[in-house]
């Protein structure tokens, strides 16, 4: 099985690599559509501004290759932080940008959503809602490391798997099709993060 981490030249790619290696995986970095197409399982990490991440993804057709691999061929995808936000329709960050639009919803400043401050930085507990998820045991009431000023909102209720409270309910986990997406950073969340990564690696949706 090839576990591929999409590399768009920004941020903590090595943290994601380290975390998967710590659970015995041998992740590879991919930065071309061809390399992406040969992945059995994908991780879309993301730090920084969503618009910049989108620009990198759209360069050379990585976004289309990702859609083919995940939506058409059903390869499992883990989106992390901005790697979750870009899946929404609209990003309201430094103006309005079109997201990948895999799910309806938009990314907003958390202060507009009722959070006292931005960024929401630190460990927060995640609570699962009514939606059934194969990751319930790894998610519900566990603490993960968050670090973000924007959050996804307005997504359909049947894909919103878990939330975290910071002045208001913030979307913490989305799940749909073969996609698991987390606003928090499992790769920086010690044991609870490791267990979630293990569950993702074992997941056959």
């Amino acid at each position: 099985m090839t576990l591929s981490i999409i590399d768009f030249g920004a941020g903590n790619i090595l943290s994601v690599m380290n975390a998967f290696e710590a659970i015995g995986e041998e992740p590879v970095l991919v930065s071309t559509p061809e390399a992406l197409a040969s992945a059995d399982r994908l991780v879309l990490p993301g730090v920084g501004a969503a618009a910049a991440v989108l620009e990198e993804l759209r360069r050379d057709g990585m976004d289309e290759a990702l859609r083919e691999a995940v939506v058409d061929h059903g390869r499992p995808l883990l989106g992390i932080c901005v790697g979750m936000q870009v899946l929404a329709t609209t990003m309201l960050e430094f103006g309005e940008t079109a997201g990948l639009g895999w799910v309806s919803g938009e990314t907003r400043d958390i202060r507009d959503l009722g959070s006292p401050r931005a960024p929401h930085m630190g460990w927060n507990q995640v609570v699962c809602g009514e939606v059934e998820t194969p990751f319930h045991r790894e998610l519900n009431n566990r603490s993960f490391y968050f670090c973000h000023s924007f959050a996804v909102t307005g997504t359909p209720a049947d894909i919103t798997v878990a939330s975290a409270f910071y002045g208001s309910e913030l979307t913490a986990v989305l799940g749909f099709g073969t996609v698991l997406a987390t606003q928090f950073h499992p790769e920086k969340s010690q044991l609870d993060g490791q267990k979630l990564l293990e569950a993702f690696v074992d997941w056959t949706p």
Binding site: L14, F146, Q190, Q194
Partner: protein, 251 residues
Amino acid sequence: MLQNRIIPSLLLRGRRLVKGTGFAAHRDAGNPPTTLRAYAAQKADEAILLDIDATSQNRGPDLETVRLAARECSMPLTIGGGISSEEIAKDCLDNGADKICLNSSALDSPDLISACAHRFGSQAVVVAIDVVDEAGVVSLYDHRAGQVLPGHTWLDWLAEVGDRGAGEIRLMNVNREGGRQGYNTNLLDAARTRCDLPIILEGGAGTLDHLSEAMERGCDALALGTMLVFSDNNIIQVKRFLKNAGHPIRL
């Protein structure tokens, strides 16, 4: 709810950890990867690793140490020391740092804050502000010169750092470092009038009660060095004490 953070702050010198008092008198404090592995197992919420010789030797942090440390650090890792350019910052991030910490280089060229925030995102940019508090008169401190910086108002600098896109502040009370007389929470109260970012308070932790008092006064992120390094305290005990005292703490 969001939990308060307990953050070990580690000083690096010649690939070994050291700890001192008032930015001097450093003693050996162990091996970086081994120590970080232990702190991760004890559920430290983050870690800060500062190469204290980097600035004076006109270089960035020791990347080999960063790389080895990052492999053991299953929580966010902030790296600082001599980060005087975007390229050095990128080297740190590429070697496993999650955030970089700017200090004197930000004072020299405030544009570095904006440049790093733009390129790596604000969440990756911590700015350290060192101050001394002499009977309530708080001044910015320059660790290179070993003295206060005349002509700078620390609160103005704090506000500017925020405006330039820093994602987090590490506020160090230099004359309490290693002194174990408790945190100076007056600094946090003053800082909160000018800055809405997360603020990590550092300098002076000596007893468990000091940590609890600081949290009662509103600190939600505390860095500690001496108290972990040269005492019987470990992070598990520290966090359990704070949790029992009623603070939001992840165990």
